[in-house]
């Protein structure tokens, strides 16, 4: 704690220094493809995989390199995907980018349209690439202002994960795929036991995107939309928005059936110790559930008949380092994201398929047997009908909603005033034209 408040200043200064240096050396723009020698093209791929995923991608790249002497791929670990955007941006400013990089879906807006980021629109049109095989929300998330800048690298979504033992104890039937919000609310209430500090549901209430995206799923279930079709105005201050916000209020404030996680991931520990009955979470949490906890996975409950879920697809993005390397990068990426190659990757890692045709591969049965919890998540991909908008003002819109929903969850703000305030802030952000 000694030097603590200084650290961020130092960090910020460091980033600025890097940018300043880059400007001084005048290194922006494209570098010639200097790594060509004897017809061999060297490309780099930057990623943030660890553990099983790192092992799997390393093995796949080794296979590729062994069978493709003309295109050699070098893997570079980016230090963790949380910092990938910042690292990429610094690289762009310094004029040195990898040829392919793993980027969060939320980074799309910050990267799309920059001169070094390759517009893939024409390349994905090639019929052999079979672009429409990717789920439509994945394609939306890889697109910004009508142009394609990414190829889906990873996909996940939110589903209902529940503790079977707590349901049995409360004498409740397990959630079904025809559950409504009322069923969900009633169950959460019955699973709540104040004397045992046991809660029906957990909600991440730190006001970040974690708070916002779960609410977005509810907004879509109620038939609402985040922004107007032209993307210039907030559209969530609507009957659907109110319905979603009201549900949060009713469960967290009236029923007190919701554990409010402050963003530190306590909810998973509490789920493991049988203090929380249901979670809305993704496949990434399944590996952290203790083996002695018997859990089930079900699609999210519906309002207005739709069980909408939300996904945060991540992308591979290509950076311009000269025509030869760009072509090589695309050839490799086509192979890496093909149904066959990615199918092998999911079998090794438990990641979800990114292409619909992966579920028709012979290996898919083996995949389901190996990762039984994933079956519902794969099915649930069909419930992801909308994508978050890829606009530069999205982080501000997200923050406005997250902060107001936090107010609703802790009983500080009533649903309608919270919506009005969030919509006003979102309108300002959207109007600033970013």
């Amino acid at each position: 704690m000694t030097s603590s408040p200084r650290r961020i200043t130092a960090l910020a200064m460091g980033v600025v220094a890097a940018l300043a240096l880059a400007a001084c050396t005048g290194g922006s723009g494209n570098k010639p493809s200097s790594t060509q020698s004897g017809g061999v093209v060297q490309i780099t791929l930057s990623h943030g995989y660890t553990d099983v995923e790192a092992k799997a991608v390393t093995a796949q790249v080794a296979t590729w390199n062994a069978s493709h002497p003309k295109i050699q791929v070098k893997l570079v670990f980016n230090g963790g995907n949380d910092g990938a955007l910042q690292k990429t941006l610094a690289g762009l400013a310094a004029g040195s980018s990898p040829d392919i990089a793993y980027e969060y879906g939320s980074s799309m807006a910050a990267l799309a349209g920059r001169s070094q980021v390759v517009d893939l629109s024409n390349r994905v049109k090639d019929s052999s690439f079979n672009w429409t095989d990717f789920y439509s929300f994945e394609r939306d998330a890889a697109t910004s202002s009508g142009k394609v800048y990414g190829v889906p690298a990873l996909v996940d979504n939110l589903a209902l994960v529940y503790n079977k033992k707590l349901f049995d104890k409360a004498g409740l039937a397990y959630p079904t795929e025809s559950w409504t919000w009322d069923d969900f609310r009633t169950a959460a209430k019955k699973l709540t036991d104040a004397s045992r500090k046991q809660y029906g549901w957990a909600y991440v209430a730190d006001g970040s995107e974690d708070t916002t995206w779960r609410w977005l799923a509810m907004l879509w279930q109620a038939g609402g939309d985040l922004v107007s079709p032209d993307g210039t105005k907030a559209a969530f201050d609507s009957p659907a928005g109110l319905k979603a916000t009201q549900l949060l209020h009713d469960m967290a404030v009236t029923d007190k059936s919701v554990y409010l996680d402050q963003g530190n991931g306590n909810y998973l520990n509490l789920f493991n110790s049988g203090k929380i009955g249901m979670l809305w979470t993704g496949p990434w949490d399944l590996s952290s559930i203790n083996s002695d906890v018997s859990y089930g996975v079900q699609i999210l409950p519906a309002a207005e008949g739709t069980h909408s879920s939300i996904a945060g697809p991540d992308n591979w993005m290509v950076f311009n380092n000269g025509a030869a390397r760009e072509q090589a990068a695309w050839t490799f990426l086509t192979w890496l994201t093909s149904a066959q190659t990615h199918g092998e990757f999911t079998l090794a890692t438990g990641d979800l398929p990114t292409r619909a045709s992966e579920t028709k591969l012979d290996s898919y049965t083996g995949y389901l047997a190996k990762y039984p919890g994933d079956a519902v998540f794969v099915l649930n991909l069909g419930n992801v009908t909308k994508a978050r908008p890829n606009t530069k003002s999205y982080p501000q819109v997200s923050q406005a909603i997250g902060s107001q929903m936090q107010g609703v969850l802790i009983g500080q703000t009533a649903p309608q005033p919270a919506l009005t305030a969030a919509a006003q802030q979102a309108d300002t952000a959207l109007a600033s034209g970013q």
Partner: protein
Amino acid sequence: MWWSDTLAGWAFISPTVLLIGLFGLVPVVWAFVLSFEQNDLISPGKWVGLDNYRKLLHDPAFSNSVRNTVVYTLVFVPVCVIGSLLVAALLNRRVRGITFYRVAVFIPVVTSTVATATMFNWLLDPDFGVVNAALNKVGIASQGFFRDPKEALLAIVLMTVWGWLGFGVIIYLAALQSVPADLLEAAAIDGCTRWRAFWRVEVPLLAPATLFLVIWLTINSLQLFDEIFVTTKGGPVGSTTVVVYYLYVQAFQFFNGGYASAIAYALFMAILVITAIQLKVGRRLSHGER
């Protein structure tokens, strides 16, 4: 050969000068230029003159962050200074195992912020925390702490005082041990009680240490960031959004690099002025008392 000495001198300090210049001065100047631009930190910026500074005056979220920072500083600094003084006085004596107590008091200072925050997150958890369990035992209702907009900033104060107390204690202990024993002896001979001697002899002699601590802690609390980042992320509902956290959000979440630089410079000026005033007033007070 005077110049060869000079040359050697410069040669010795040049690595440091270069490094500090590169990572200290260049960014400082660069940020100053940025503060007059609309800049997303990547694309070439657009010169907007004083617009960023003008925007500061009309940004309710910024004034909210200033208010939170001021409240935090006004509570944190006095609590930390007085707390350190009392603990240092307790530790400034010969008792069995005094080294153990001194180490215990200092350990939080060298504990990483993230570890401290994780611990406090659990201690202060409204539902499962030890603190609320203890409060309930003595008949006090559960508190919201980080979850309650009215309490979150005070919970941050509690956490940071825990982390900083040892630092103040070390400074005061050093100062206390340099208080001449004959002064205290003279006071005792004149019939002064130990308690009066503490207030009338020791505390005034500690004035330089107090001045240093007040300035140091004020500068640090005006730059509060890590503890917020790892606990409340500025919430709930903006109640712990302090200036540097707001700067971070603007720079690295919204990519408004120019506006964030303007915030940084406003904060820099504020710290400069406050420190100058503290030095001036502090020096006058400590001279007046001697």
